[in-house]
C-alpha cells in the first residue's frame, strides 16, 4: 500500500499495482493460497460533496466494527483476535495518558470481572489530568516541530502547552480550540503565565514569508490539506491551483507574526502584529518581484462573510515583507478587511458544518494515533484527489464528530470502545503495508510517553544536571533542562510523521543503554523496583513475572521463561542476573512500542 500511495502522489499510473498490492496483502493471511484472485482494495478518494452525504448521527456501539469488517470481508482478510486484559490495559494507558499502569492499576483491572470494565477504564482515563497533559503535549509538538521558534518565543512554549492542556481537560470542542487560536491577538507576557497563550500558534512565524507559511500551516493542521504544494506551480493532480493557494494566503495578508515586547530594553514578552493595510500578492511567474494582489477566498472559492474585495492590481513585492504587496487599491488605512476580520472570516469558514475537511482532518489524525495507521497517510495529507483507505468509514466517523459538535472525548470513546481498536498485533504483517485496521499497527512512543513510562517502571529518575554543564547530547536548548529535557528532546519526533517512518537513533539507544542516572535505577539495590521485587518474590519465576508485568504489561512466554532461567543460572548471581534482565527489557523494541 505504501508503494501505491507513493505512486499516486507522484501521479503515475497505478491500476495494475493496486492489484499486485492486493495480492501482497492477502498473502499475509493464513498461508494456504498461492494464487488468490485479485481483489480491489477499499481505496478511494472523496470529493467535498461526497462527505456531506454521510450521516451526522452519533456513532452507535458496534457501528465502526460493522463498517470496517464489511470492507475486510470484501478483501477476504480476517481481523486479528482481541487483546487480552493485560494488553488492553497497557495500550489504553499509554495511548490516553502516556503512562504505564501502576502495579495497583494492573491488579485492580485484572480482578474486575464486570463486562463493561474496558469502557469504564476509558471513561476514567479520559477524566485524568494525565490525559489532558499527554495530549496537550502532543498538540504542542504538532505545532512546534515545524515552526521556527526563536529564543523569545521559546519562553512561552510551556504556557501554550498548559493552555492546550486546560482546553482538553475541560473537553472544549475542537472547533472552539481552533477558533481561539486562529482569532487570537495581543501579547503573551513572560510574567503573566496562562494569559492569552492561545496566540502562540500565530506567533510561530515571523519575517518576510510569515504570510504564506502560516497559511500553509493553518491549512495543514486544521484542514489536513497541504495546499502549499500549489504555492509555486499548479499541481497536475490536485484540484487546487496556484491562485487558490494565494487567495487562501490573502486571509493572512496583514498578519506579521511574532514581535518582541520590549520594556526598558528588556524582552518581557511576545506579541502578535498586524498591519492596517496591504494585500497579499501572487508573484508573477516571469517576474517574481511583482505580482497580482489577491482577495481572501476559501478552498471552495467563496469569500468570507462581510468581504470587502479590492480590485486586483499588479505591483511590486517588497522582499522585506513589510507591506508586502504595497497598498493595493484600497490605499492606506482603508479598503479590504482588517487582519482580525479576515482571520475571523477564515475561522467561520473552517469550522462551518458544511466544510467536511475540518472534521475529517481531526478524526483521521486521532484514528491514526490510536490505531497506528490512518485512513489518509500521512495524517495531514487529505484532499479530494488523495486516496484514502476505507474512506467511507472515515466519512461516517467524521460525520458523527460534526454532528456532536466536535466533541473530542466522545471521539476517543467511539474509537477506543470498538473492537477494531482493541485488536492484537499479529505475526507476518509486513511493516510497510497498510494493515487495513484488521490488526494493530505498532507505533513508537513519543518522548513524553517514553520518559513517563520509564519513570513509572523504575521510579523517579534523578534528572539533575549531570557533570559540569549537564551531560551533552540533547541540542542547544535541552542542555539546560537536565536529563528529563534531554531525554524528551532525544526521543521526540514530528507527530505528523507516518508510524513506519518514525525511527530510533543511535543517540537514543546510547542514552537508554549507558546513561548513569537510568542505570542507577536499574540496579537491584536500595529502594529500587528490582530490589523490592527480589525481596518480595523468593521464587525466580514469580519475580520474573512481576518484572515483566511491570515493564511490558504482560507475563513472559514459555520460551522467554526458559531463556531467562538459563540466564539466571549462567550468571550465578541473582541480583546481577535480574539487573541484566531489566536492562534488556528496558532496551528492547517492545518496551518502546505502543502495541
Amino acid at each position: 500500500m505504501r508503494l501505491v500511495f507513493g505512486l499516486r502522489a507522484t501521479c503515475l499510473g497505478v491500476v495494475g499495482l493496486l492489484l499486485t498490492s492486493a495480492g501482497l496483502v492477502t498473502a499475509n493471511a493464513p498461508k494456504k493460497e498461492e494464487k488468490k484472485p485479485a481483489v480491489t482494495l477499499p481505496v478511494g478518494a472523496l470529493d467535498t460533496k461526497d462527505w456531506l452525504k454521510y450521516s451526522t448521527k452519533a456513532i452507535e456501539p458496534g457501528e465502526i466494527d460493522r463498517l470496517v469488517n464489511a470492507e475486510l470481508v470484501k478483501v477476504k482478510i480476517k481481523p486479528a483476535a482481541l487483546t487480552n486484559d493485560e494488553q488492553f490495559l497497557r495500550r489504553a494507558y499509554i495511548d490516553l495518558t502516556g503512562k504505564l499502569p501502576s502495579q495497583t492499576d494492573i491488579t485492580e483491572f485484572l480482578a474486575d470481572k464486570t463486562p463493561t470494565k474496558r469502557a469504564k477504564l476509558i471513561d476514567k482515563l479520559l477524566e485524568t489530568d494525565e490525559y489532558a497533559k499527554h495530549w496537550g503535549n502532543y498538540w504542542r509538538t504538532v505545532i512546534t516541530t515545524r515552526a521556527t521558534i526563536d529564543f523569545r518565543l521559546q519562553q512561552v512554549v510551556p504556557q501554550y502547552e498548559r493552555w492546550m492542556t486546560a482546553q482538553l481537560k475541560a473537553n472544549k470542542s475542537w472547533a472552539e480550540i481552533t477558533r481561539e487560536q486562529l482569532t487570537a491577538s495581543g501579547k503573551i507576557m513572560y510574567n503573566e503565565p496562562d494569559k492569552n497563550a492561545q496566540a502562540f500558534f500565530l506567533m510561530s512565524r515571523r519575517g518576510a514569508d510569515a504570510v504564506t507559511e502560516i497559511a500553509a500551516e493553518t491549512s495543514r493542521i486544521f484542514l489536513g490539506i497541504q495546499i502549499q504544494c500549489a504555492q509555486c506551480h499548479d499541481h497536475p493532480s490536485d484540484v487546487w491551483k496556484r491562485q487558490n493557494f494565494h487567495e487562501f494566503a490573502a486571509y493572512f495578508a496583514r498578519y506579521r507574526g511574532e514581535r518582541p515586547v520590549l520594556e526598558e530594553k528588556k524582552f518581557v514578552g511576545v506579541q502578535l502584529t498586524s498591519l492596517p493595510f496591504g494585500e497579499h500578492r501572487m508573484p508573477d511567474k516571469n517576474d517574481p518581484k511583482s505580482g497580482l494582489s489577491m482577495n481572501p477566498k476559501f478552498l471552495d472559492g467563496k469569500a468570507p462573510a462581510g468581504a470587502k474585495p479590492v480590485a486586483s492590481t499588479k505591483g511590486p513585492i517588497d522582499p522585506k515583507g513589510f507591506g508586502k504587496g504595497g497598498f493595493g487599491k484600497g490605499g492606506f488605512g482603508g479598503g479590504g478587511m482588517s487582519d482580525e476580520a479576515r482571520r475571523k472570516g477564515l475561522t467561520d469558514q473552517i469550522t462551518d458544518k458544511n466544510n467536511p475537511w475540518f472534521a475529517a482532518a481531526f478524526v483521521n489524525r486521532m484514528w491514526g494515533e490510536l490505531m497506528g495507521q490512518a485512513f489518509y497517510s500521512p495524517i495531514d495529507d487529505l484532499g479530494p484527489q488523495k486516496d484514502a483507505m476505507m474512506p467511507t468509514v472515515l466519512a461516517r466517523v467524521s460525520g458523527s464528530f460534526r454532528g456532536n459538535d466536535y466533541n473530542i472525548k466522545q471521539l476517543f470513546r467511539d474509537i477506543m470502545n470498538s473492537e477494531t481498536y482493541q485488536r492484537q498485533i499479529r505475526p507476518g504483517e509486513p511493516g510497510e503495508e497498510h494493515l487495513m485496521f484488521a490488526t494493530r499497527n505498532l507505533v513508537r512512543m513519543n518522548g513524553n510517553a517514553m520518559w513517563q513510562t520509564l519513570n513509572t517502571v523504575l521510579g523517579p529518575i534523578n534528572s539533575g544536571l549531570g557533570g559540569k554543564f549537564g551531560a551533552a547530547g540533547a541540542g542547544p536548548l535541552g542542555r539546560f533542562g537536565g536529563l528529563e529535557q534531554q531525554f524528551k528532546n532525544e526521543f521526540s519526533f514530528d507527530p505528523s510523521t507516518k508510524a513506519e517512518e518514525i525511527e530510533g537513533s543511535i543517540s537514543q539507544a546510547l542514552m537508554l543503554m549507558n546513561n548513569p542516572q537510568i542505570n542507577q535505577r536499574i540496579r537491584a539495590q536500595g529502594n529500587n523496583m528490582l530490589a523490592r521485587i527480589l525481596s518480595s518474590y523468593k521464587e525466580d519465576d514469580e519475580a520474573l513475572r512481576a518484572v515483566y508485568l511491570r515493564t511490558l504489561g504482560r507475563r513472559p512466554t514459555d520460551r522467554e521463561l526458559k531463556t531467562l532461567r538459563g540466564h539466571i543460572g549462567s550468571v550465578g548471581n541473582r541480583s546481577e542476573a535480574f539487573e541484566d534482565i531489566l536492562w534488556a527489557l528496558i532496551n528492547s523494541t517492545e518496551f518502546q512500542m505502543r502495541r
Binding site: 508503494l3 507513493g6 505512486l7 499516486r8 502522489a9 507522484t10 516541530t145 515545524r146 521556527t148 521558534i149 526563536d150 515571523r206 519575517g207 518576510a208 514569508d209 507559511e213 502560516i214 495543514r220 497541504q226 502549499q228 522582499p319 500521512p378 495531514d380 495529507d381 498485533i425 511493516g431 505498532l442 559540569k468 551531560a471 551533552a472 547530547g473 541540542g475 542547544p476 542542555r479 534531554q486 528532546n489 510523521t497 525511527e503 530510533g504 543511535i506 543517540s507 539507544a509 546510547l510 543503554m513 549507558n514 546513561n515 520460551r559 522467554e560 531463556t563 531467562l564 540466564h567 541484566d580 534482565i581 536492562w583 534488556a584 527489557l585 528492547s588 523494541t589 517492545e590 512500542m593
Partner: protein
C-alpha cells in the same frame, strides 16, 4: 586506516538506499537501479567516498568588517586595522594572524548575500539552502552530504555536530532517514554523552546484556513486531558498535599533546561566547581523520549589537586559532585536498556603527571563507564598496554556495530526494557552483 575503509565500500550501490529511500526511489519511478555501474563510475564513487567536510558556523552573524573584509580608514570600518597575509594582495582584520599565515590555502568570498535578516530563518537558510516552508522539513547540509557520500558500514555517526550557542536544534536530518541525523557533542572536552559504559558494567557484561536482549526479542518479533525489531536492532547495533569501536578514541582529546590543544585555543567553557570552539576544531580534525564525513563546529557570541569591537577581538582570537590551525594541520597531513572547510555565519553586520558601538544584522553583503577539496587558496572572490554597503562584484547567493559545496564534494546538486508525501526536493534549488574558486 582510511584506505582500508575505502576498500570496504561496495561498488554495487544498492546498499546506499535504506529500505525506505529505496521504496521512495522506486515510487518516484527512478530508472537508475538497473544500470550496471561502469568502471569510471566506480572511480568517481570511490573518490566521492573519500571526501569530507567541516563546517565552522559562527552563530549570531560575524561582522565582515572585523574578520575578512576590513575597511580601515573608512568611517564604517571603525577602529579595526588590517594585516598583511601570506598572500601579498590580501589583507584581513588584525585579530586573525593564524588565518593570515594560512591564506595560501584559503579562499575568501566577500560578496556573499542572502535575504534573511532574522537569526532563525537565516540560519535555516544557510544550513539547509532553503527557507522554512510549512510542511517540509528540509535536511541540514551535513545530513545531505552524509547521505550522499558517507561510507556505509561505518561504526561512528557520519555527521557529528559539536558545540552550540546557536539556534540549530531544529535543523537536522529533515525528511532524510534518521541515520543521517547529526550526532551532537555538547562539550568537546568530554567524551560524548553515554558512549562509555556505566561503572557497574564491564564489556563482558554489556555484551551479555545485548545477547540476552536479542534472545528475548524473538517472541515479540514473531508475534508481529518483526519489522520494528529489525529497525530497532539497527540502532542498537549502531550504538553498540560505537561503544566498542576503536575509532571512538577519536573523540578523546586527551590523546592530543597539551601543546596541540593549546595551539587550537582553549576558550573558557560555557556556551555563549565561543566556549570550546578551538577544541571543537581539533576534534573535527580527529573525526575526519578517522573517517567521519561531515563535522559541524558551532561558535556562539557573534551577535554584536553592543560593544562590537571588543567582543569581536575576543571572539576572533578563538575563531582564528581554531580555523587557522585546522587548515594548517589538514594541509600538513595531506588531508586538505579531500576535506572542504567552510567558515561562515548566518549573515554579516551593518556597515553603520550603532549608538551602542555595535553593529546590527546585515544579510546584503558579507564574507565567508573556504579551503580544501579543490578550492584554490590565496584568492578573494567578489568585493564590496568602500563603505561595505553594497556588493560591487560577483555576488554569491546561498544556492550558489550550496552548489559550490556540492561541486567540491562530487555531489550532483540537482539530484532529487523525495519527501514523505512524495514531493521531489532537489539537493539545491537553483544557483550555480562558483567555478572561479576551483
Amino acid at each position: 586506516m582510511s584506505t582500508q575503509l575505502h576498500m570496504q565500500v561496495q561498488v554495487n550501490d544498492d546498499g546506499v538506499f535504506s529500505r525506505r529511500s529505496f521504496l521512495r526511489t522506486v515510487a518516484a519511478g527512478a530508472a537508475g537501479l538497473g544500470l550496471m555501474p561502469t568502471l569510471a563510475a566506480h572511480a568517481q564513487e570511490l573518490r566521492r567516498r573519500q571526501m569530507a567536510c567541516i563546517l565552522l558556523f559562527m552563530n549570531g552573524g560575524p561582522s565582515q568588517f572585523e574578520t575578512f573584509d576590513p575597511k580601515p580608514g573608512h568611517t564604517n570600518g571603525g577602529p579595526t586595522q588590517s594585516i598583511q597575509t601570506a598572500v601579498n594582495s590580501i589583507r584581513i582584520a588584525d585579530s586573525w594572524p593564524t588565518v593570515a599565515r594560512e591564506m595560501g590555502s584559503i579562499a575568501l568570498v566577500r560578496s556573499m548575500n542572502n535575504r534573511e535578516g532574522e537569526h532563525q530563518r537565516a540560519t535555516y537558510l544557510m544550513k539547509t539552502g532553503y527557507l522554512p516552508v510549512g510542511g517540509v522539513r528540509f535536511p541540514s547540509i551535513g545530513s545531505l552530504v552524509a547521505s550522499e557520500i558517507g561510507p556505509r558500514d561505518f561504526d561512528l555517526p557520519q555527521f557529528v555536530q559539536i558545540g552550540g550557542g546557536g539556534l540549530g536544534g531544529a535543523i537536522n536530518n529533515g525528511f532524510l532517514p534518521m541515520q543521517y541525523a547529526p550526532f551532537r557533542v555538547g562539550n568537546p572536552n568530554q567524551m560524548p554523552a553515554n558512549t562509555t559504559l556505566p561503572g557497574d558494567t564491564s564489556r563482558t557484561r554489556f555484551d551479555r546484556r545485548l545477547g540476552l536482549m536479542q534472545d528475548l526479542e524473538r517472541d515479540f518479533a514473531e508475534s508481529g513486531g518483526e519489522a520494528r525489531v529489525t529497525d530497532h536492532r539497527a540502532h542498537v547495533n549502531g550504538a553498540a558498535n560505537m561503544v566498542r569501536s576503536p575509532r571512538l578514541q577519536a573523540f578523546d582529546l586527551s590523546r592530543e599533546t597539551a601543546a596541540t590543544r593549546d595551539r587550537y585555543g582553549r576558550g573558557a567553557g560555557g556556551f555563549g561566547g565561543g566556549g570550546a570552539f578551538g577544541q571543537g576544531c581539533l576534534l573535527a580534525r580527529r573525526l575526519v581523520e578517522t573517517g567521519v564525513t561531515f563535522v559541524e563546529v558551532g561558535m556562539g557570541g557573534w551577535d554584536t549589537h553592543q560593544n562590537n569591537f571588543d567582543s569581536c577581538r575576543t571572539l576572533s582570537a578563538q575563531s582564528d586559532a581554531g580555523f587557522g590551525n585546522l587548515v594548517k594541520d589538514l594541509r600538513e597531513r595531506n588531508m586538505l585536498e579531500r576535506t572542504l572547510v567552510i567558515w561562515m555565519g548566518e549573515f554579516g553586520r551593518t556597515p553603520r556603527i550603532n549608538a551602542n558601538n555595535g553593529r546590527d544584522h546585515y544579510p546584503r553583503a558579507f564574507s565567508i571563507a573556504m579551503a580544501g577539496a579543490g578550492i584554490r587558496g590565496g584568492r578573494v572572490l567578489g568585493s564590496t564598496s568602500d563603505g561595505g554597503n553594497d556588493i560591487t562584484n560577483r555576488p554569491v547567493g546561498v544556492s550558489d554556495l550550496f552548489c559550490t559545496i556540492c561541486h567540491a564534494l562530487g555531489i550532483d546538486p540537482r539530484k532529487e530526494n523525495q519527501t514523505p508525501i512524495g514531493r521531489p526536493i532537489r539537493i539545491v534549488d537553483g544557483g550555480n557552483a562558483v567555478r572561479e574558486l576551483f
